[in-house]
Symmetry: C2
Subunit: 581 residues, 2 copies
């Protein structure tokens, strides 16, 4: 490609609404152009990146035996009513009425449509396993779209759906996809981690997220540097405490802590480690009658070490809390604890509550908690002596860096990631809701066992940039760069020698299948270099009269701090070897 | 591709709602699957065809210097309000409100968005010419979607938009696109015709439709077999009459024609040629005040030869009628003609009307028209003698087969076509509405001169099928077939020889870059052949034990009535030569 025949458009300044570096750089480099909140045009330079991402995904999906189709963007509401998602999804689901007043949605995913196709097309177990995928426009009406392509409203997703005859076969299909995802992410040339994720009501370990590692990532990722353990924060188990509970050594003492409503403040005031304090979280569960009216409520007190945070996913699975919990109201707190949040604790309650202690809290002695009296805490609290053992002891907390790995192979570390892929075993959730069956080997109808597998095609370039950039701009991995090589001729309009050398290298690289752009726009060197550094083309060749006199041109990788002189006759070979073409 | 790893799904019966052959065959061959009215999933077999169409379009658009981008499917209503299309487009435009109550549309085309991009990105004449295109999902909420992909609601279109500094440059850009379209349609391997189309208010000849010729086409196409004249029916001019008007030979006579309200009936009753009768069409135009209320109306009488039809586009451009016309009401007809339609004519009017005669009517003598009296016509009518010369003489009619070509090079013929492409010079229609300017060479802002260029990507396969099919199914041209070659092994599971020969040919063809599918499903020969004939793969190789004994396999083109025995060692070469790979 010659730059004069392409569309190169860069900006000095990032738009005012760009908060993250990928959004800033994608806009400045002319990859995307905002049309509305969370809605972007993929400009020619950006579309090249997206097409390369698509091509890698497509190749590996095909290799893994998935078959591509394209489902409609606009989908009938009735199908979405079959699974209840038409109502359940809330305002994120963009709903439309057509000219005849019929309900439609703009697809956020396509479980309903593909299950509808499967129940019509896959009639026998002999047609299974089957995996359909599409790379197609999606829409989620985010309440607060931001971060450019990172959390847009319109986006492109690769979504795949597997259909199997039984759970074992479905799990095998899942593993095939998980492996394909590893190949895909390897090929992107990004640093990523596949982490175990929560699989919701289905259970088991068949849910993994593919996270591109970046300091700016929204998600906390837990991993063990000494083993292959990796999970997202929701999912990561904390290892059970090792030692037994120490014997009480202190007396229970009411201690004034005026205005100190947090564990951190109390620990600082008393000069004790934060880990010796216990925080109280008050939840509630409701019993409903047939009409959905609340007939009774139960108040729960969760106790966590002061330096730990509650993990809502873990809590949502505890017996009694798995019906769905909420935070207690101020009235409930007052009526049970007799005081306001900030000074709550398990001692001296006005009404009984269910006490759930994190495993770490259950092995503490001489701990500190709120006194259920404003401006007071109690120190030297001990289980058994001062209060009964908790009703339930469980893993309630997010892990923290340094926690022992649950596989016993070292300490956990935490880093940030951007989720760009997810593989998920669905079981029969959708097939049962939509009565999607096939004839099993025994001649009876059976529900499809399903899996779903997504990759955020347009999110991936943003994640790649969050991971790979510097103060001058983007640094693309070769595989998804808009162009792999840029040739920058200096004074091409004045020098026949430069023009000839640039033209010859360009032709040689094209012939070798290298995705090269020749910058023939006639820009001055400074502006030209700044453009390509901003755009992030990984390999640059500079050709000028000065070097050519000695038969030299310059090579510089986008990460190199300086250029290297190379014999003009060697440059094509050098690039071919670097690019392995 | 091996069929066992692909998704082959055929149906014996077409769906009840399929009216046209392409809809029937695309559904039966498993290319598409209906999701809702006018909304289809492109199944794996169909998507392959669409991808090949896209690839050809993309290659030729790139070759012609257009640059690909992707504009959003969901577009803000405000932009559409700038051009007035948000209101004007009526219910065909699918409108959405997002969660914040803001108006959006699902794009039917993208003039507004690309003009918005141009007014931001193209600041100087130095950046022109520029042509952006996309291949993207579109939606038109057709009142009556039907004919499968031929008139669907959701579809894929390639839409390109050119921006130029002046009309001459814009016309040059238009010609570049028109040439690219010819290359594209040549490559599809279809019989097509580029025909002049009406260019609306802009005038000139810079509007062409690309019509795939098919007996079932919706559009009438006019062409001259002896020259390169071709136009759609709306646009096709009739040549002016040659001879002068003959002198009157008959007396004007009131003739009873009881119950004969059409020219055809009258001609039959009187035993005269239809071409000696004149039909009367009554139109009206309204004068409006500032508030849009009608303050006055003018009635028009259009006179056409009994064997001719009115051309609304031509009539809409006549002076006085170009403000917008309607058919007259029954009350207006009664008050001016004193009778009801069926017996109208230009003689003996109650109130004056403007009389417009088609050029052919203006040179008639001794003609027959309604008497403005029920059940009566007048014969022997003559201009000048019986009534004044018409207020206006013009080309009002559709041409008919046998009319002289307007280029004077022979007689016109008419055939049917399916419009799959359109190139159009827009002028400054959108740039003026959206105040989209660039700095011209004189340093002053100037409006972009634009063109737009569409290809119905998902309509094209349907048009190809309308043109190329037989009672057994589809017959694809090589370029857009889902697979170019199918290998059908007979008894592959029983015969090692068949399996080996099929596997070897498959590998050889793959290596040669042939898009081949090996049918390893184990279907019986009859079902296997029926499937591939229905699907329409153009080249078939059959491999069986019987032939292999003599070192032979069979080749059959989808259009051949019988197979040809070919040496197994020659088959790959034969296919390579047929496919020119």
């Amino acid at each position: 490609m010659k730059a004069s025949q392409f569309f190169v458009s860069t900006l000095k300044e990032a738009p005012a609404d760009a908060e993250v570096v990928s959004h800033k750089l994608m806009t400045r480099a002319g990859l995307i152009k905002k049309l509305g909140a969370g809605i972007y045009t993929y400009m020619p330079m950006g579309l090249r990146v997206i097409r390369k991402v698509e091509a890698i995904v497509r190749e590996e999906m095909n290799r893994a035996g998935a078959v591509e189709c394209t489902m409609p963007v606009v989908q009938p509401g009735e199908l979405w009513q079959e699974t209840g998602r038409f109502e359940k999804m809330g305002p994120e689901l963009l709903r439309i009425r057509d000219r005849h007043g019929r309900d439609f949605v703009v697809q956020p995913t396509s479980e309903e449509v593909i299950t509808d196709i499967a129940r019509q097309e896959l009639r026998s177990y002999k047609q299974l396993p089957r995996n359909f995928y599409q790379i197609q426009t999606k829409f989620r009406d985010e309440r607060r779209p931001r971060f450019g392509l990172m959390r847009g409203r319109e986006f492109t997703m690769k979504d795949a759906y597997s259909f199997d005859r039984n759970p074992e076969a479905a799990k095998a299909s899942y593993q095939v996809m998980a492996q394909a995802y590893r190949r895909i992410f390897d090929r992107f040339g990004l640093t990523y981690r596949a982490v175990a994720a929560d699989s919701g009501a289905i259970g088991g370990d068949l849910s993994e997220e593919f996270q591109v590692i970046a300091a700016t990532g929204e998600d906390a990722i837990v991993y063990c540097p000494a083993s292959d353990y990796a999970a997202n924060m929701e999912k990561a188990e904390s290892a059970p405490p090792t030692g037994p509970r120490p014997a009480p050594a202190q007396a229970q003492t009411l201690t004034p802590t005026p205005g100190k409503a947090t564990c951190a403040d109390v620990a600082a005031l008393l000069g004790v480690p934060l880990a010796s304090t216990v925080k109280s979280l008050v939840l509630a569960t409701d019993t409903l009658d047939e009409d959905g009216n609340v007939t009774a409520s139960q108040v729960w007190l969760l106790l966590l070490r002061g330096d730990h945070d509650m993990n809502e996913v873990k809590v949502s699975k505890l017996p009694g809390l798995d019906v769905g919990f909420r935070f207690a109201t101020l009235a409930e707190i007052q009526s049970h604890f007799g005081t306001e949040p900030g000074y709550l604790g398990p001692l001296g309650l006005l009404q009984p509550v269910k006490v759930v202690a994190d495993r770490e809290v259950a092995v503490m002695a001489d701990w500190i908690c709120g006194a259920n009296r404003k401006d007071y805490h109690i120190t030297g609290v001990n289980w058994g002596r001062d209060l009964p053992e908790p009703d339930l002891v469980a893993d309630l907390r997010n892990v923290v860096a340094g926690d022992p790995s649950p596989d016993g192979k070292g300490a956990l570390a935490i880093e940030r990631g951007i989720e760009v892929g997810h593989v998920f075993y669905l079981g029969t959730k959708y097939s049962k809701a939509m009565n999607a069956t096939f004839l099993a080997e025994d001649g009876k109808p059976a529900f499809f066992e399903m899996g779903c597998y997504g990759i955020g095609i347009t999110r991936l370039p943003a994640a790649a940039i969050e991971q790979n950039h510097d103060e001058r701009g983007i640094i693309w991995p070769d595989a998804i760069a808009p162009f792999t090589v840029v040739i920058c001729p200096i004074g091409m309009d004045r020098s026949e020698a430069v023009k000839a050398a640039a033209g010859q290298l360009y032709a040689e690289l094209l012939a070798a299948g290298v995705d090269v752009i020749l910058d023939d726009r006639g820009e001055r060197p400074g502006a030209m270099f700044a453009d390509w550094e901003l755009i992030g083309v990984p390999h640059r060749v500079t050709i000028g009269d000065k070097g050519l006199k000695d038969g030299k041109v310059e090579y510089q990788h986008r990460r190199d701090s300086a250029a290297t002189a190379v014999d003009v006759s060697q440059m094509a070979d050098l690039l071919r070897s670097k690019l392995a073409v």
